[in-house]
C-alpha cells in the first residue's frame, strides 16, 4: 500500500516561544524547529503498516525550504521519498486543499496525519482534507492494547488494515471508539498510537541520498488566500505568588470565600 504522511515544521515544544512585542507573531531568531510530534507518530505508523503490508511511504511538508530538514528526519526513520510544497504560512483550509492536489497526483491508499500541529493546535487539516476528497476519516487514532503492550514492543501497527478497510481505535472522551473505514481514507494520529522510533544513524546517512521533490505552491493552482486571519498573540497572564495560611480554618475560609471553589 502507498501511504502519504504529512510532516509539519514546528517550533521546538521544549523551548519557550517568544511573542513579538506588537503581538503580530513569534520571534523566530534562535528558535529550534522540529517535526510536529503528532506527525512523527503518523510516520511511525505508516512505516509499521508498510512493513506489514508492503508498499511505500511518501512524506509531504508544506512550508519554507528549511522544512527539508523535517522531511529528511522522516526519511531517516525509513520513509522512501519526500515532497516539499514551498509555501509561506497557510491556514488549515489552504493546507487541506494543497494536500488534496497532491493526493490526486500521488493516489495513495491512505493519508496519515498528526491530529494537529503543536504550534497552532488547529486540528482541522485532516478533517478538511477528508471532506474535500470525499474520503472517510478516522481521527485521533490510538492503540487499544496501550503503549506498554507486547504489540507496541513488537512494533505492531495500531491501525489494522485488511480487505480494503482500516480498523481504527479512536480516542473519545472517557473511552475508546473503534471504527472501520473503507480505504482510501484519511487517518489522524493521537499521542497514544505508538512510540515513534529514533532515526538510526545509518538511516540519517541514507536519508541524505533519498529524493525530495520540490513543488512551488503557485504551480498547484490552489487559491491559498487565507480564510482565517490571526489578529493577535498574547502571553498567558503571569502566575501570582502563593500565600501561606496559618491553619486549616483559614485555608477553608479562603477556598470558600476568596477562591470560591468549595
Amino acid at each position: 500500500m502507498k501511504i502519504l504522511v504529512t510532516v509539519k515544521r514546528v517550533t521546538d515544544y521544549e523551548r519557550k516561544v517568544k511573542i513579538k512585542p506588537d503581538g503580530s507573531g513569534f520571534e523566530t531568531e534562535g528558535m529550534n524547529f522540529v517535526p510536529n510530534p503528532f506527525d512523527e507518530i503518523a510516520v511511525e505508523e505508516a512505516l509499521r503498516l508498510t512493513k506489514e503490508h508492503g508498499g511505500d511511504v511518501v512524506v509531504v511538508s508544506i512550508g519554507p525550504n528549511d522544512a527539508t530538514q523535517q522531511i529528511r528526519q522522516a526519511l531517516a526513520m525509513g520513509a522512501q521519498r519526500g515532497i516539499l510544497v514551498q509555501a509561506g504560512e497557510l491556514d488549515s483550509d489552504a493546507v487541506a486543499r494543497v494536500l488534496q492536489k497532491l493526493v490526486e497526483k500521488e493516489n495513495p491508499d491512505l493519508v496519515l496525519m498528526g491530529k494537529q500541529a503543536t504550534d497552532d493546535d488547529a486540528n482541522q487539516a485532516g478533517q478538511l482534507l477528508a471532506g474535500y476528497l470525499g474520503w472517510p476519516q478516522a481521527t485521533f487514532a490510538s492503540k487499544t492494547e496501550g503503549l506498554e503492550s507486547a504489540e507496541e514492543k513488537a512494533q505492531k501497527p495500531g491501525v489494522k488494515v485488511a480487505d480494503g478497510w482500516a480498523s481504527v481505535a479512536r480516542e473519545a472522551d472517557g473511552g475508546i471508539e473503534t471504527i472501520k473505514v473503507q480505504l482510501p481514507a484519511v487517518i489522524t494520529t493521537d499521542l497514544r498510537l505508538n512510540h515513534p522510533r529514533f532515526a538510526s544513524l545509518p538511516g540519517i546517512m541514507k536519508a541524505k541520498k533519498k529524493p525530495i521533490e520540490e513543488i512551488p505552491v503557485a504551480s498547484l493552482g490552489v487559491d491559498i488566500t487565507p480564510k482565517v486571519r490571526v489578529l493577535k498573540y498574547e502571553e498567558p497572564p503571569a502566575r501570582l505568588a502563593g500565600v501561606k495560611v496559618a491553619d486549616v480554618d483559614e485555608l477553608v475560609n479562603k477556598l470558600k470565600n476568596e477562591a470560591k471553589v468549595i
Binding site: E14, Q73, F198, A199, S200, L201, P202, I204, M205
Partner: protein, 389 residues
C-alpha cells in the same frame, strides 16, 4: 535532581543531523537511566540493544564495512554529546569505535577486516583491546604476555589487566611478545583473538571509584592456541606500532568526552546556583560563585575549541601526534577542576549521590589516568617541543 538536565546548546554552530540524533538519544534515553546504572553498576541490556539499533557501535568503521565512516571531527562532536551523560554508556560501544576495532581496521588484512568489522559495526560482536598487564602500564613496550610459535599456530600465555569490556568481548586485540624479552616494542605482535577460545579466562569485574557500569576485568591466557592467520596484518613484530596508531584517536575521544562532561558539570552547577538560596537570595548572585562559573565556562571553551580544531586537522592529515596528547592533557585536567568547582558550588549537596555532580567528580578522575596518564602526555608533548626541526 539527577537526570533532569536538558542539554543546552553546546554552541551556536549548525550541528550535524548525526549529532542532533545522538543528543536526542542521550537526552531522552540515557540521562533518565543514569541513577539506575549507578545503583546497579550495569547498563541495562535493553539500552544496549537501543544503542545497537541507533548505530553507535559503527561510528568510526567505514561504510564499506557496514559502519558510518564518520571522520574524526564528526566523531568528537558525537563524543561531546555522549560525554554529557554517564561514561558507562559510551563504554559499552567505545571499544568498538576505538581501540577494539582500530587495530584491525588500520593494520589488518582484508580477510581480517571482512571477518570482524561488519559485526563490530552492528554491535553483534564486541571488540576489546588487551595491552595493559599487571606490570605493563605506561611502559607499553614491556609486554610480558608470551606468544610462542608452535607449528601453524601461536600459543598465548599471560595476564592482561583492566581490560574494558572484557566480559562482553567477542574478539580481543591482544598484544603479546613474539620476540625475546629484550626486544621491547619490536618484539610485540598484535593478535585478533576469538574470546571464546579454550584457555581464556575472564576475571571478576574490578570495583572502581567511579564510572560505574563500565566494566574492566583481568583476562588470563593460559595456553591459548591461535592460528597464525590471527596476527593482525599477518606480520609478527608490528603490534607495538599498531597499538601506538590507535592511541591518537583514543586520546581525542577521551578529550571530547571530557568536553561533554564539563558542559554537564557547568550546567548542573549553574542551575543549582540559580535555585539554591542563602542569605535570602540565589547563590548565583554572589560573586565568588560567579567567579567559579566563569572560570569553568572559560576552560570549557578552551577545551572544546582545541579538541575540535585538532580533530579537524587530523582529518586533513596535518596534526602532529603530540597535539592529541595536548588535547587529552588539557581537557582531562580541566574537567578535574570544573568537576571540583561544580561540587564546591553545590556545597554539602555536592557530596550527596542524589546530585549528578557527585558522580561526575568521581567519574572525572579516571580520564587523567587511562589512555596515557597526564604525565605520559607531558613526556610526549615535551619530546615534541624539544625535537630538532
Amino acid at each position: 535532581m539527577p537526570g533532569e538536565g536538558v542539554p543546552k546548546e553546546l554552541d551556536g554552530d549548525e550541528l550535524s543531523e548525526i549529532r542532533l540524533a545522538v543528543r536526542r538519544f542521550v537526552r531522552e534515553r540515557l540521562i533518565p537511566h543514569e541513577a539506575q546504572v549507578e545503583d546497579e553498576d550495569e547498563v541495562p541490556e535493553a539500552l544496549v540493544e537501543e544503542m545497537k539499533a541507533l548505530g553507535l557501535f559503527g561510528l568510526s568503521i567505514p561504510e564499506s564495512y557496514g559502519g558510518l565512516g564518520l571522520g574524526l571531527e564528526e566523531q568528537v562532536g558525537v563524543y561531546e554529546e555522549l560525554g554529557y551523560t554517564s561514561p558507562a554508556f559510551r563504554s559499552v560501544f567505545g571499544t568498538n569505535v576505538g581501540i577494539g576495532s582500530l587495530g584491525i581496521l588500520l593494520d589488518g588484512t582484508e580477510s581480517q577486516r571482512q571477518a570482524y568489522l561488519p559485526r563490530l559495526a552492528t554491535g553483534e560482536l564486541v571488540g576489546s583491546f588487551a595491552l595493559t598487564e599487571p606490570d605493563v602500564g605506561s611502559d607499553a613496550a614491556a609486554v610480558r604476555t608470551r606468544a610462542r610459535e608452535d607449528g601453524d599456530s601461536y600459543v598465548l600465555d599471560g595476564t592482561k589487566r583492566y581490560i574494558t569490556n572484557a566480559a562482553r568481548a567477542g574478539v580481543f586485540t591482544v598484544m603479546a611478545r613474539t620476540g625475546s624479552p629484550a626486544s621491547r616494542g619490536d618484539g610485540v605482535t598484535a593478535f585478533a583473538v576469538d574470546a571464546h577460545l579454550p584457555g581464556i579466562e575472564i576475571g571478576a569485574p574490578e570495583r572502581k571509584m567511579g564510572q560505574r557500569g563500565a566494566k574492566v576485568c583481568d583476562v588470563i591466557f593460559d595456553g591459548v592456541r591461535v592460528p597464525k592467520s590471527s596476527i593482525i596484518g599477518g606480520v609478527p613484530g608490528q603490534g607495538f606500532k599498531t597499538a601506538m596508531k590507535t592511541l591518537d584517536v583514543g586520546r581525542l575521544h577521551v578529550a571530547a568526552l571530557c568536553v561533554g562532561a564539563m558542559q554537564r558539570a557547568l550546567d548542573e552547577a549553574a542551575r543549582f546556583a540559580q535555585t539554591r538560596e542563602q542569605f535570602g537570595r540565589p547563590i548565583a548572585e554572589f560573586q565568588l560563585i560567579q567567579a567559579m562559573l566563569a572560570d569553568s565556562s572559560t576552560e570549557l571553551l578552551a577545551a572544546k575549541t582545541m579538541v575540535r580544531a585538532t580533530a579537524a586537522r587530523f582529518d586533513r592529515g596535518k596534526a602532529p601526534s603530540a597535539d592529541a596528547s595536548r588535547c587529552k592533557l588539557f581537557a582531562t585536567e580541566a574537567l578535574g577542576r570544573v568537576a571540583d568547582r561544580a561540587v564546591q558550588i553545590h556545597g554539602g549537596a555536592g557530596y550527596i549521590a542524589d546530585y549528578a555532580v557527585e558522580r561526575i567528580y568521581r567519574d572525572a578522575r579516571l580520564f587523567r589516568l587511562y589512555e596515557g596518564t597526564s604525565q605520559i602526555q607531558q613526556l610526549i608533548i615535551a619530546r615534541d617541543v624539544l625535537s630538532p626541526g
